[in-house]
């Protein structure tokens, strides 16, 4: 019996070859190779499925194709409409838009106080419903080529399963100060924790980081032009 086992082992060893420094039979080598490849494939799939850089948000934008954006050197960011229950959502997003616009270095932004003073002088009731004439008038007062206006539709934590994550939805528009018409608009929504954050405790974005991401992604659609 022992002799039989020895013979079997000897015959197997005689079939064995060196693979990457390991002694294995062809069959075992192929099986190990398959196992290794499937492990790697699985890991890569998990990384892609759950990476923090997922394109989970929803974005739609419109740019007037006949418009030359290079003439816009100075813009004013109007107070955004706050359609959320968060009291300062509009102000927070507005500050972020100003900061990001300045950081691009492409345009100069009017001091927020100056915008408030000009709007007050105009005597308008609602900043969200400016007429083309009012936009033109504001444009000449503030010496800007365009206005950024818009709204914050969602700003808060949302619950998905047993986890909560920031959910933000904004709409930004650019109005031409000389004609009062809308030349760019973008809606960007983001929300929910990533797969890795939910299941493996990966780092998920804070509220502020989510706002930054949403604003940056919305403005990026404009910066291409």
């Amino acid at each position: 019996m022992k002799e039989n086992i020895r013979q079997i082992r000897r015959s197997r060893l005689s079939q064995a070859k060196m693979y990457n420094g390991y002694i294995m039979t062809d069959k075992r080598y192929l099986r190990m190779k398959l196992l290794r490849n499937s492990f790697l494939l699985g890991a890569i799939l998990i990384v892609f499925a759950g990476s923090g850089c997922r394109s989970g948000g929803v974005s739609t934008f419109h740019v007037r194709q006949d418009m030359d954006f290079s003439f816009i050197k100075r813009v004013a960011v109007l107070p955004l409409d706050n359609l959320t229950n968060e009291r300062f959502a509009g102000d927070i997003v507005r500050q972020m838009v100003i900061s990001e616009l300045l950081a691009t270095g492409l345009v100069d932004v009017v001091v927020p106080g100056e915008v408030v003073a000009a709007v007050d002088k105009l005597g308008t009731r609602s900043i969200s419903s400016l007429t083309a004439d009012q936009i033109k008038s504001l444009g000449s007062t503030l010496k800007v080529q365009a206005f950024i206006l818009g709204s914050v539709e969602k700003f808060g934590e949302t619950r998905i399963g047993n986890t909560t994550a920031p959910e933000i939805s904004i709409t930004l528009m650019m109005a031409d100060a000389s004609s009062g018409s809308i030349i760019w608009s973008a809606t960007r929504t983001t929300g929910g924790a990533s797969f890795m954050a939910r299941h493996f405790g990966a780092r998920s974005d804070t509220m502020s980081e989510s706002v930054l991401k949403v604003v940056r992604e919305a403005l990026n659609t404009l910066m291409k032009y």
Binding site: I98, S99, T104, T164
Partner: protein, 199 residues
């Protein structure tokens, strides 16, 4: 025989370690929030800054005193960099005399009035977007986000603008419950990080 057994075990071990390394690395690399950007007017030099006024910051956080806390940290940080900062009481007096309605968003005329009254080169204003403890999926962490803007007192143009946030809990806090920085430490760090971009 021993060699064969050892080789199989080695291969399996290397496979498992590769997979574990992937799982460990993924949380570290994920959460790709872009880098914090800031703006400095090209023709502006910080060396020309001798005396500034730090206005009360707009407070959008749930902490009623967050604006004042960050303002004090900003004043301390500016003073430590050799910039003369006007005493906050003097600023309040000037704002009252100028009959400024919104203390955080001054018009050019009001800025010029402040320049005359206080003899400042620039005015630092801004807002506190978040200041408090936030709850993540597996950890509680301090979250501080600020936006600072430096305005030229004469022309009212924006000389420097920065938005900065502390971010969420780090890897060790999330997975091993390690003690992270306190809210005050985080606030100091955020203010310092923001002011660093100016100097």
């Amino acid at each position: 025989m021993i060699s064969k057994a050892k080789s199989t075990r080695d291969v399996l071990l290397s496979l498992v370690s590769t997979f574990v390394a992937f799982l460990l690395l993924t949380p570290l690399i994920s959460g790709c929030t872009g880098a914090m950007k800031y703006y400095t007017r090209p023709e502006f030099s910080v060396s020309s800054l001798k005396r500034i006024a730090v206005l009360p910051l707009e407070n959008y956080s749930t902490d009623g005193y967050a604006g004042e806390k960050i303002r004090k940290a900003v004043i301390t940080e500016m003073l430590s960099r050799g910039v003369d900062v006007i005493e906050p009481g003097e600023i309040t007096r000037a704002l009252n005399e100028l009959k400024v309605q919104s203390r955080s968003s001054l018009s050019v005329k009001e800025l010029q009035g402040m320049q005359k009254m206080l003899g400042v080169d620039a005015v630092l204003t801004g807002s506190v977007e978040s200041f408090g403890m936030s709850t993540g999926i597996s950890a509680t962490y301090p979250e501080v986000s600020i936006h600072l803007v430096l305005l030229d007192a004469g022309s009212g143009t924006i000389l420097w603008s920065v938005w900065r946030t502390s971010g969420g809990a780090n890897f060790w806090t999330r997975h091993f419950g390690a003690e992270g920085a306190s809210l005050s430490e985080t606030a100091r760090k955020v203010v310092k990080g923001a002011i660093d971009t100016l100097f």
